[in-house]
């Protein structure tokens, strides 16, 4: 089988482009309040279901709210919640995995058995149940997605620690009297971050879709706060009157998820090729 080799520099350029795009989206979401052409919460009976025009670049919804402004504010909710959720689960999972892998014994059994049980719940099922029971809100939606989210990193980190443990340099660190914390942070962590970060990047899209799904069902971020999933849910009932009210948040969701997913793919390819060369 012929293998076409993709040069490392090519992958690097792609990686930088998508890193820049993702960074741009994050900055955009942080600056959203400054960029809104109109007040995203102001309702108006005069401009209900207005088609896109100069004043309202993406039209208005049933309540006469500016969709462009709401999509921008929604970026803040969606991107911010997904990125921070991934960061929290990443840190929590990695720490637990490190502890389980390094100390083994009771800590290992406890943490990994808990992870096993969590994996028995299909992620969206438990998220829907938890968010539904706790009631709406971004915090609850994030909690609902995070309950099972940490297990990926914990399992991966533990497996890495178990294989790294046998490496001479880790043994050397241990014999030279470093305490467990120093070994974990200074010796183990830098050598296992690659795959963990790739996983975290691909999880951003998953979490975004998950939180949007909860909001779509009405048990995640709730009105009047702007969020893409709940915007699509509200406007789908009058989609024949104002299709732009569905398409604007829909396009925003798909584009954002695509950018973060592609970033994850680039990162994985880059680390795989870079690791070999």
């Amino acid at each position: 089988m012929k293998k076409r080799k993709i040069p490392l520099s090519h992958l690097k350029t792609k990686l930088w482009i998508f890193l820049a795009l993702a960074g741009f989206l994050i900055i955009l979401s942080l600056l959203a309040p400054l960029l809104c052409p109109n007040d995203p919460f102001a309702t108006s009976a005069k401009v209900m279901n207005q088609a896109p025009c100069k004043e309202f670049p993406m039209g208005t919804d049933r309540y006469g709210r500016c969709i462009c402004s709401r999509v921008l504010m929604g970026a803040r909710t969606s991107i911010f919640s997904a990125v921070s959720l991934v960061m929290i689960t990443f840190v929590a999972g990695t720490v637990l995995g490190l502890i389980a892998g390094w100390f083994e014994g009771v800590a290992d059994s406890l943490i990994m058995r808990l992870a096993d049980v969590m994996l028995a719940f299909p992620q969206m099922v438990i998220a829907i149940a938890v968010a539904g029971i706790l009631g709406g809100g971004m915090g609850n939606a994030m909690l609902a997605m995070g309950i099972t989210g940490w297990t990926i990193y914990a399992r991966l980190a533990r497996a890495q620690v178990l294989s790294l443990k046998k490496e001479p340099y880790v043994q050397a660190a241990k014999l030279s009297g470093c305490n467990a914390f120093t070994i974990m942070v200074k010796t183990l962590l830098p050598n296992m971050l690659g795959p963990l970060i790739v996983n975290a990047t691909t999880q951003i899209g998953v979490m975004m879709i998950g939180i949007a799904g909860l909001s779509f069902l009405g048990i995640g971020v709730t009105e009047p706060q702007a969020e893409w999933g709940s915007m699509i849910n509200l406007s789908r009932s009058y989609v024949q009157l104002a299709p732009w009210a569905v398409f604007a948040p829909a396009a925003a969701t798909v584009l954002t998820v695509m950018i973060f997913n592609y970033l994850g793919d680039c990162l994985r390819d880059y680390l795989e090729v870079g690791g070999k060369e």
Binding site: A120, I133, A212, I219, R236, V246
Partner: protein, 308 residues
């Protein structure tokens, strides 16, 4: 083999025990106790006296572990209590919903396999061709679209604009088309990606080059590639059941399909806790059982495992 199955069954039992405990704990920790939840779900005005009486009747004044033990012993006999809303047994409601969800899921999985296996196989054979790139692009985009969005787009283009199908799913074959499509499209996209990688991995193995060099007919080479890839394909399909179970909640709510997911969403709206509890327990049971069956079926596909 029997020893292995026994070990796995024991593991499954312990996982389900832990799952049932967590599910019970979740309900126990929610604000407001079950008595007031039950009364408010039925729309009864709550006075302290009525509340105490209901608590007494529901056995809520007993210690936590006794309550859990009691609930679990009943759950093991498929008695999941009665719905707060209408007093129907939860198990009966779940059973009705399960039948409808099963139709949806089985059709969706079959559809996904029928679409994904040939596409992935062709893409892997014609690696880096235009076809391969096209398939990869489509599956990448399909992977990035949430299933609720696919449903809304399908409804808009097929029902509202083209007026080809009704929006609300009735139980005819026509009613099945849209929910199944909405459920399968993300799954097909993921399958294509993962199956293609799997086929490529097998095609790159030395046995393929060896067989080709010996002049073995391409058909037999590909048959072996397919057979070897089928173990991982099976794992991927088994794991996708979890996604399908979660996705069916969204899809059934949108298309008003009277399955488990719709039941769960209605229960959430009505704060009907025993039904939610039953739903979580049942979906977990389905998920772990399906994955156990996939694990066991490796033994039938891979003869090397039989000897262990």
């Amino acid at each position: 083999m029997i020893k292995y199955v026994g070990k796995r069954l024991l593991h499954l039992a312990w996982i389900m025990l832990a799952v049932s405990f967590l599910t019970f704990l979740l309900m126990y920790l929610t604000p407001g106790d079950a008595a007031s939840k039950k009364l408010s779900a039925q729309g009864v005005a709550v006075s302290e006296e009525v509340l105490m009486q209901t608590r007494e009747n529901m056995g809520l004044l007993r210690p936590f572990f006794i309550q859990y033990g009691d609930w679990m012993l009943h759950a093991m006999r498929f008695d999941l209590g009665v719905s707060f809303k209408d007093g129907f047994p939860v198990a009966e409601k779940l059973w009705k919903g399960l039948k409808n969800t099963a139709i949806l899921m089985v059709v969706s999985i079959l559809l996904s396999l029928l679409a994904a296996v040939p596409l992935a196989f062709l893409a892997a054979l014609k690696k880096d061709s235009v076809f391969d790139h096209g398939i990869r692009l489509i599956s990448f985009v399909g992977n990035s679209i949430p299933n609720f969005l696919i449903s809304v787009l399908l409804i808009y283009f097929i029902c509202v604009r083209a007026k080809l199908l009704p929006v609300v799913a009735d139980k005819s074959v026509r009613g099945l088309i849209l929910p199944c499509l909405a459920l399968s499209i993300p799954i097909i996209s993921r399958f294509v990606r993962q199956f293609r990688a799997e086929f490529l991995e097998q095609l790159g193995k030395p046995f393929v080059a060896g067989a080709r060099a010996r002049g073995v007919k391409e058909f037999y080479v590909l048959r072996d590639v397919f057979h070897n890839a089928s173990i991982n394909i099976l794992t991927i399909v088994g794991l996708s059941v979890g996604t399908l179970l979660g996705g069916s909640v969204v899809i059934e709510t949108i298309f008003r399909w009277p399955g488990l997911g719709k039941l769960a969403m209605d229960a959430i709206t009505n704060r009907d806790y025993p039904v939610i509890q039953g739903f979580v327990l049942l979906t977990c049971a389905i998920y772990v059982t399906v994955n156990l069956i996939t694990d066991i079926s490796y033994h039938f596909i891979d003869p090397r495992l039989r000897e262990r």
